[in-house]
């Protein structure tokens, strides 16, 4: 028997040696940008944790689908890395100045580029745009966001390169938020029996982008190759590969070995290690996502009292949480991003002030009469449930801090976390936020490129059995905010709109409707051989500029 063992061990050793010897991944050269002149050729591998469910950006539930679809489809406009809306298939972005947006704001005209062809050679026309609009409003199609498109009453296509949208009422965010994802090919899809299941959603062929999709291997990668007939010229890269790696440590290892060129959305905890890699540049970029401790104001909740909310805002040491958990990031005071034209620079976050918090609670009538450390009023204890999505260590750590901070001022609190579908689920399905199963909900809200926040803060969006997916889960019902959020949608003058949203943020802060934590930062690790990597803070995604990307030293 020992003889056998020895033989087996020899075989095993051989197999191991073989795999190590022949199959290893060499570490990629440390890059080096010898010339700044773009070089044509080469492939680029983009590593991400999330695989698109479908590539049709309208029916997908994932932002990664939008990101990848940038390679194969073009929209009328696009949002660049500075949050500016730029024309793509449209010749210019419609404004009131250039006549694209009518005086009353109810007619929006896009002039389209001429001579553009789909990858199968068929011409791209205004009919494709009108078709895309009809798909957006087709109740049989599971479109996940119809905001803006649902204001359109009629689409006119007077000629092949003009599209006119007639809106039922002025909707200022229209140009900033609609038709930035790909336009759909009418000739390939208008006979489709079921657009949700159409095979085109997985091939995007015919498409209209710098690349055409070559292969999609489930769970592994999507590969695109250069679209030689692209109207915008030829891309520098021969191939773009989006690789799905489900573990952040593996992404790190592959960035180090050069198997991937880009590590998308690295966890903050890994950013230091990425920075230390000689072959990689760490991009720290802003995002439109803000983390907040939302105060859920159920009808009988003590949080209905503004003083209790302000006390909580003073009691939690948010600055300390940000400093410890997210070094280098800053505390937020507004729900509009500092890069936005609607950002209110005058607002400052609540200071950490337990004495003030205690004073406010005393004033509100909450006193600890029985000396058990928790305040009471009218026989009710001031006890709050804190919830977030389970399994995220940073959120779980900050929950502990919040519980301790609240305890110091006499507010009892308990942590109860849920998995994301439960936490964000619909009212009718008992979702934690929507049905108000917690008092403080910790989660991220995503601000738009347009500052419109009617869905988040107008009382029409308080979740209920008739509005199960309502996004105003904090149940903010403030007459002033109701008025302003509605006005912001119909006011066309950007200066006046900016004032409106600055005012909204001031009220939210003053009345402590939510405790704002910070704006997320994205960490992207990019190999130095990649040029023109410009991470995009919006839902347009990091691959928004595939035409510009090139690699040196293949």
């Amino acid at each position: 028997m020992p003889k056998h063992t020895a033989r087996i061990l020899v075989v095993l050793a051989f197999v191991l040696a073989a795999t190590v010897g022949w199959g290893c991944q060499k570490q990629a050269g440390t890059g080096g940008t010898s010339s700044e002149t773009p070089v044509k050729g080469g492939k680029f591998v983009y590593g991400t944790m999330e695989e698109p469910d479908t590539l049709n950006p309208y029916i997908s539930q994932l932002l990664e689908s939008v990101n990848v679809s940038n390679l194969f489809l073009d929209g009328l406009t696009r949002v660049d890395e500075k949050m500016k809306v730029i024309p793509v298939l449209a010749e210019e972005v419609p404004t009131t100045e250039n006549g694209g947006v009518s005086e009353d704001g109810k007619t929006i005209t896009y002039r389209l580029r001429k001579g553009v062809k789909w990858s199968d050679g068929k011409p791209f026309t205004s009919a494709d745009v009108a078709f895309t609009q009809s798909v957006m409003m087709n109740p049989k199609v599971n479109v996940s966001n119809r905001s803006g498109y649902d204001k359109v009453t009629k689409v006119d296509t007077p000629d092949e390169s003009t599209v006119i949208f007639h809106l039922k009422e002025p909707f200022a965010p229209f140009v900033n938020s609609c038709f930035q994802y790909g336009i759909l090919p009418k000739h390939a899809l208008d006979k489709s029996k079921d657009l949700n299941k159409d095979p085109w959603n997985r091939t995007l062929n015919p498409g209209l982008g710098p690349f055409t999709l070559k292969t999609w291997k489930q769970g592994q990668f999507i590969e695109g190759e250069r679209n030689k007939s692209y109207y915008g010229g030829q891309a520098y890269l021969d191939n773009v590969i989006v690789k799905f790696v489900t573990d952040p440590n593996a992404l790190f290892a592959q960035l180090k070995s050069g198997e991937i060129d880009w590590f998308e959305f690295a966890p903050a905890a890994l950013s230091k290690n990425i920075k230390a890699l000689p072959n990689v540049t760490l991009h720290e970029s802003d995002t439109l996502s803000f983390e907040n401790y939302s105060l859920v104001m159920k009808p009988d909740s003590p949080l209905q009292d503004v003083k209790v909310r302000q006390a909580i805002a003073h009691a939690i040491n948010v600055a300390q949480i940000v400093k410890t958990l997210y070094p280098g990031e800053t505390q937020a005071a507004t729900t509009q991003h500092p890069l936005s034209w609607a950002f209110n620079a005058d607002l400052k976050p609540y200071t950490y002030d337990p004495a003030e918090a205690k004073k406010l609670l005393d004033e509100a009538g909450w006193k600890d009469a029985n000396n058990d450390g928790i305040r009471e009023k009218g026989g009710k204890r001031l006890f709050l449930i804190i919830s977030t999505t389970a399994g995220q260590s940073d959120r779980e750590q900050k929950e502990e801090v919040i519980v301790q901070d609240l305890k110091k001022v006499g507010i009892g609190a308990e942590v109860k976390n849920y998995d994301p579908p439960t936490f964000f689920g619909a009212f009718t399905d008992g979702g934690t936020l929507t049905s108000g199963k917690c008092d403080i909900g910790i989660f991220t809200n995503v601000a738009g490129v347009d500052p419109d926040n009617w869905t988040l803060f107008n009382s029409a969006n308080i979740p209920s059995s008739t509005n199960p997916g309502g996004q105003n889960t904090g149940r903010i019902n403030d007459p002033q905010i109701n008025k302003l959020t509605s006005e912001g949608q119909v006011e066309l003058d950007q200066t006046k709109r900016a004032e409106i949203y600055k005012e909204i943020d001031k009220i939210i802060l003053d009345k402590a409707y939510t405790v704002l934590e910070r704006w997320w930062k994205n960490y992207d690790g990019v190999n130095k051989r990649v040029h023109n990597a410009k991470p995009n803070p919006t839902s347009q995604g990091n691959l928004w500029n595939p035409m510009e990307l090139w690699v040196s030293g293949k």
Binding site: M1, P2, T5, I8, T19, V20, W22, G23, C24, Q25, Q27, V45, T54, I59, Q61, P139, K140, V141, N142, S144, N145, R146, S147, N196, K197, Q218, G219, Q220, F221, E223, I241, F244, V245, T246, D247, N249, A250, F252, A253, Q254, K256, S257, E259, Y418, D419, P420, P421, T422, F424, G425, A426, T428, D429, G430, G431, T432, T455, N467, P468, G469
Partner: protein
């Protein structure tokens, strides 16, 4: 034997049916509901949300949905994924080869390691070799799979680059963007298979050891020795054959379980198999895919148990089914 097999297979049908009802109800009634993906951060009106529920066929009570699902499933139609909108059968079939590759590799490696280790340990009971194997297998068995995976990744993928300028691949089934050759596949398989094999080998080697020890004390082994057979012949022909019975049973039961049990390994190593699909479908509340997978795994476990019983009869002359 045929009658026995028929009876057992027929008994399996209601069992699978019961499991399918339970799993369907559990997923359909899970808190947060099936349209959670459409409610967070979206701007859908109540009517638009209701239309999506209608399109997905989840506007009816769960038992109505189940009845519809069952009606189609018996005809081989398991519906469409809620997220990718592809046929469930296609989505699952695409993932099976990767998981099979991983399981076969891990089982082969684990068996090749566990059998000799177990047998030698039994032969040299309480010696240094035995003690080392015992301690090693307890460590291997009690370490969580993700820890094993991360240790392997840290050493062989990340640190190897610093030490040798290259390391083993840290994820995926093959290199992307090139035509992967045999050794490329093998190198990608090495660490995931090792991750899965370590705990298995640890458990099996204990099993083999105790089983061999028990047989070595048996009367027929003493008789065999008394007949003057060589020690080698005693071990191979008498001890091993009989002591393998419980080992084979253990393996036959464990292998189908692996279909669901590769989840952590697949997640750590970005392996494009069934396990990944399972987590994703549950995370996204993709009822048709999750249901399809649970029924598949339940069927495999039942078949695995049946196979174990059949193997018993073939290996052990004392067991006969009539």
């Amino acid at each position: 034997m045929t009658r026995y097999l028929t009876r057992r297979l027929l008994q399996s049908v209601p069992l699978v049916a019961i499991i399918s009802v339970l799993s369907f109800a559990l997923i359909a009634k899970s808190p947060g509901g099936l349209v959670a993906a459409y409610t967070h951060g979206r701007r859908l009106t109540a009517a638009q949300l209701a239309a999506i529920e209608r399109n997905l066929g989840i506007d009816k009570p769960w038992y109505v949905q189940y009845w519809r699902w069952l009606g189609r499933a018996v005809r081989g139609d398991f519906g469409y994924s809620f997220t990718s909108n592809e046929p469930v059968t296609k989505v699952i079939l695409e993932r099976i080869p990767a998981t099979l590759e991983l399981i076969v590799a891990a089982v082969v490696v684990a068996a090749l390691v566990a059998l000799p280790l177990g047998v030698i340990a039994a032969q040299r009971k309480r010696g240094i070799f035995d003690t080392t194997v015992t301690v090693g297998s307890f460590v291997g068995y009690s370490m969580p799979v993700f820890v094993v995976g991360y240790v392997l990744m840290f050493v062989f993928s990340i640190k190897f680059i610093d030490w040798f300028g290259m390391g083993l691949p840290s994820g995926g089934q093959a290199s992307v963007g090139t035509d992967p050759g045999f050794f490329d596949y093998l190198s990608h398989l090495a660490l995931p298979a090792a991750t899965l094999a370590i705990a298995m080998a640890a458990g099996w080697s204990r099993f083999v050891r105790s089983s061999v020890l028990e047989q070595m004390r048996a009367d027929f082994v003493r008789t065999a020795r008394a007949k003057g057979l060589s020690e080698r012949a005693v071990m191979v022909r008498h001890v091993l054959r009989t002591s393998l019975i419980p080992v084979v049973t253990e393996m036959a039961i464990e292998i189908p379980l692996l279909f669901g049990g590769t989840i952590v390994t697949e997640k750590v190593w970005s392996w494009p198999g069934i396990g990944q699909l399972m987590i994703k479908s549950l995370e996204k509340r993709d009822l048709p895919v999750a249901q399809g997978l649970l029924v598949l795994i339940a069927t495999l476990v039942i078949l695995g148990n049946l196979t174990a019983d059949v193997c018993y009869a073939m290996l052990d002359p004392r067991i006969r089914y009539d």
